[in-house]
Subunit: 198 residues, 2 copies
């Protein structure tokens, strides 16, 4: 891109290195930024570096946060005896959007995957077991319904069972609004197995 | 987004304010940034603010650049007697990608639009006329082939005609209503080769 001066090229390259941003989008974003008021560009720039520098794991649930405890772990109105185990912070956010879950979370930051060489010690599992020393009534396993997610769910449930704490797994089945015709066989089988009496 | 701590929310909001980035993409980008090595986040952050702070108009052709003169105006191998007039820097970049045009440019930063109240004095037209005091053999008008682009082309050609300098318009190989930025190199080349004198 030698027809752009070096700082414009640099900006485009940095933007194009982000996931899902191709060279055309990077160019469009770069020109948008070059035409922003300086304060707005400053805002974007500092949001990036401040977030990256200050964000760390919540010391309780290991979600990403910029304080010692995340807003959910700090919230006295949540049910701290019910822990939902998720693979990453985005999964936590997905459940929070339902506005119906009032328990707390535990973020594993990954799932067990023998194929990728990710074992139980590579995710925040020890940390989950430590939390179970306290007053916990139920652990809801909400890892993805992929091979890795299922493996992780099985592993965790076997680990927790002996403690006597209730362990559950979110149901898998046909998504709400889903058309049976377009749903894969595995999902249809799961939906059948998990059928509930009406 | 109160389930994210404030700096994560801030980063997502800043990203979501960019064109073409919705809340889902902003979330994905934010987590990507949070997981970057600090130096990389620093690089992105400073590319944004440095580019925004230092980029200005080339004092000759008015393209965006971070130096007094842009790389093209500084280049002694280019034909400085041939000036291609474009609406903005992205259009210049589009022609540069063809690798066949060896003249220089003049960036208007807009087009005449009576509807939007943009007149000849609102674009870099005076600056173009000043450049014609020097040794110029041809002015190629490569404004978009939209109503505003055509209006601007007509206006400029009428202004230049009396000076005796050759004025041409890129051919209508460019689809009517098309935006130069998104047109493939071959079409752009055809349009250049088939330019007609106005």
């Amino acid at each position: 891109m030698e027809y752009y001066s070096s700082q414009i090229s640099k900006l485009m390259e940095e933007l194009a290195s982000l996931p899902g941003i191709g060279s055309k989008s990077a160019q469009r974003l770069a020109f948008h930024i070059l035409n922003m008021p300086v304060e707005q560009a400053q805002g974007l720039s500092s949001a990036i570096i401040e977030a990256r520098k200050n964000v760390r794991y919540c010391s309780m649930c290991y979600t990403l946060t910029d304080e010692e405890l995340c807003p959910i772990c700090r919230n006295g109105y949540r049910n701290h005896k019910m822990i939902m185990v998720v693979e990453d912070t985005r999964d936590l956010a997905a459940y929070e959007k339902t506005n119906k879950y009032d328990g707390v979370y535990h973020v594993l930051h990954g799932a067990i995957s023998p194929m990728l060489g990710i074992g139980p010690n590579d995710i925040k599992l020890k940390e989950l077991m430590q939390r179970l020393q306290g007053e916990v009534e139920e652990v809801i396993i909400a890892t993805n319904s992929s091979l890795e997610g299922e493996t992780t769910a099985m592993y965790i449930s076997k680990l927790i069972k002996p403690t006597g704490i209730k362990v559950s797994r979110i149901a898998s089945g046909v998504p709400v609004g889903g058309d049976l015709e377009y749903i894969d066989e595995m999902t249809l089988l799961r939906a059948l197995e998990g059928r509930t009496e009406l």
